[in-house]
């Protein structure tokens, strides 16, 4: 019962949050200089105004805002202003297929490797694996993604010709992009897990568990990892959203038809509907993820009760 009430409350908050985000972005976006017109540079001012009028972009902002909200409530994100007449929803869904595939793959790979490295590093505190984990973690955060992706694309793709250097189509095309994305995940995961594990392994209840005669595996996985996972989950949720919504750098370098580029390009060309589209898309994903993470918290660590349900 508590659970249902809690969920409903949170849903309510999510809608309010989303509304604030939509509103803030809408007005911020309209303070961007220029218009969404493509030929703006050469368009005579008179004609420009007239075309803006046709698109309803000369209306007072509050009017445009209400129109937008009206359409949004009906689930209509509108049509892109750059890609003549294409539906924003369709563009996002099409692009998301590529982005999320690469992202998921990077995430799974990154989390598995990161977990392994983190746990191994903690268990062999100071040993060889610990050193390797540190190296990977440092490398993962110290080489900018455009350098990493560039190196992979050049070395694996051009020099050794093991995998396609870029483009999209077959499974082979997804490997290098996912790999470039996963370094960051590995780095984040392994560091957080290692730190937490080292601390957890030092706790009294671990000694108790050992004293009770529990097996090593049971100790590590039932007790240590579970407690170490809590901060990792906090980090992992939003990280996952970030990764599956695509990376401008990776998608540009590997020529992938994803949505990562929309986040920057839509702003550069003042494609208002697309800006709102990606914002809403991203915000909903994040909000849902945060919600899920909070629920997971309760499952992983019974000491943390759901904040909203308590009072």
């Amino acid at each position: 019962m508590d659970m249902i009430k809690y969920t409903l409350t949170r849903l309510g908050y999510m809608i309010v949050t989303l509304w604030i985000i939509v509103t803030a972005t809408f007005f911020l976006m309209h303070s961007l200089p220029g218009t969404p017109l493509q030929n703006e540079e050469k368009l005579p001012p008179l004609i420009r105004d007239q075309i803006m009028e046709t698109y309803g972009l000369n209306d007072p902002l509050p009017v445009q805002y209400m129109n937008f909200l009206g359409r949004l409530v009906q689930g209509d994100l509108g049509k892109s202003l750059t890609y003549d007449g294409r539906s924003v929803t369709e563009m996002l869904l099409e692009g998301f297929q590529a982005s999320s595939f690469i992202g998921m793959q990077a995430l799974v790979f990154g989390v598995v490797v990161g977990l392994f490295l983190g746990v191994a590093a903690a268990l062999r505190h100071g040993g060889l694996l610990d050193n390797i984990a540190t190296i990977v973690a440092v490398a993962g955060v110290s080489i900018p993604s455009f350098v990493m992706a560039g190196l992979l694309s050049y070395w694996v793709g051009v020099k050794w010709q093991l995998l396609p250097t870029a483009l999209w189509g077959t499974y082979e095309h997804t490997i290098l992009p996912s790999l470039s994305l996963s370094f960051f995940v590995i780095a984040q995961m392994s560091r957080y897990i290692r730190t937490e594990m080292v601390e957890v392994l030092d706790q009294d209840y671990m000694k108790t568990a050992k004293a009770k005669g529990l097996g090593r595996q049971a100790i590590i996985f039932r007790h240590a990892l579970r407690n170490a996972l809590i901060p990792a989950v906090t980090v992992l949720g939003p990280l996952a959203v970030n990764i599956i919504t695509g990376s401008l750098v990776v998608e540009t370098i590997f020529a992938i038809p994803g949505i990562g580029e929309f986040f920057v390009q839509s702003i550069q060309v003042n494609d208002y509907t697309l800006i709102m589209g990606v914002t809403i898309f991203y915000a909903v994903l994040i909000l849902v993820t945060i919600f899920v993470v909070d629920i997971l918290y309760g499952i992983i660590d019974p000491r943390i009760r759901l904040a909203g349900a308590r009072e």
Binding site: S142, P144, V147, R191, F263
Partner: protein
């Protein structure tokens, strides 16, 4: 031993020493303060010392390096463009014939300034919001969490690009723009930790003994989440440097001809296949900075985490 001896104990054999009230409070060993202890343990941590050493060296070069050859970061000389290191062009020249040694150290200066500023803002806002939110819970938490959620959920490029359009790209505007959303991860980590810790016995004990919220937060809770906070900072510094590099990638970085390490690495990465040295030097400095901060972070965590006291 023997009852005989016991019996021979007489009151005369004892001397009354009186009651020393203060003696009961005395510690068995010298009292070592939190920070003093931390410094002591930090100094024995070689990794951290190496990290600190590298940072000092790079810091030294960032400020003194530009004085070491007679060039500056902006003078162009097309006749010597794209030259590998020669004479006193220790790092060679770029596509304008500018001295890369000068540009690299200047860039290091700029990047460090941006990173420190951004990390400082992140730290101040993130720790305050995270701990208050986690500790007090309830309505305060609810409000703060909504704000965090909003900031977390807007693609931060929109905010950052706007910020950089209002203020011209410079060191402080970039640092500010980065920390507008940059403090959020910090706040989330801190909040999660505080939530975990606040129901522990020692906090309860402190509260029972009448400690105020402020005391509990600053003396008991925050020192205990120092580990995660420091890791978050060691990630905040590289991520600030990187985000600045990413801004260069989309054309919004530092205003040329001034450079940052990020913009130099970006410029160099375009020459990866032809003049790789243009990537090599700034990238090496960048990597060294990262490495140093990570080692330092590890060391600081060991030093600051009270649970690791020996």
């Amino acid at each position: 031993m023997s009852e005989k001896n016991m019996k021979s104990l007489t009151p005369e054999m004892f001397e009354f020493v009186g009651m020393n009230e203060s003696a009961g409070e005395e510690m068995a060993r010298e009292r070592v303060g939190f920070w003093k202890d931390a410094v002591r343990r930090f100094r024995t941590n070689w990794g951290a010392m190496i990290g600190l050493f590298i940072i000092l060296i790079i810091g030294f070069f960032a400020f003194a390096g530009p004085l070491m050859n007679g060039y500056d970061y902006e003078s162009q000389n097309i006749a010597i463009q794209n030259m590998e290191p020669f004479e006193d062009h220790y790092f060679g020249t770029d596509s304008f014939g500018r001295d890369l040694w000068q540009r690299t150290w200047n860039g290091a200066q700029v990047s460090l300034q941006i990173a420190f500023l951004a990390a400082l803002f992140d730290l101040l806002i993130g720790v305050t919001v995270g701990s208050v939110s986690g500790y007090f819970g309830g309505r305060v938490d609810m409000v703060l969490q909504r704000i965090v959620e909003i900031l977390y959920s807007i693609p931060n490029l929109i905010i950052i690009i706007l910020m950089l359009l209002i203020f011209e790209p410079g060191i402080i505007p970039i640092a500010l723009a980065l920390s507008i959303t940059g403090w959020v991860p910090m706040a989330r980590v801190v909040r999660a930790q505080i939530l975990k810790l606040k129901s522990q016995e020692y906090v309860l004990a402190a509260r029972t003994l009448g400690a105020g919220h402020r005391h509990i937060l600053t003396r008991h809770l925050i020192p205990n989440v120092m580990g995660p906070i420091i890791i978050a900072v060691t990630f905040a510094i590289p991520s600030a440097i990187f985000f600045e590099a990413f801004l260069s990638f989309i054309g919004l970085g530092i205003r040329p001809p001034l450079a940052s390490l990020g913009s130099l690495v970006f410029d160099g990465s375009k020459f990866l296949q032809i003049y790789p040295y243009q990537l090599f030097y700034p990238a090496t400095v960048l990597c060294l900075i990262m490495l140093a901060f990570n080692l330092l972070g590890d060391g600081l965590r060991d030093a600051l985490d009270p649970r690791m006291r020996k």
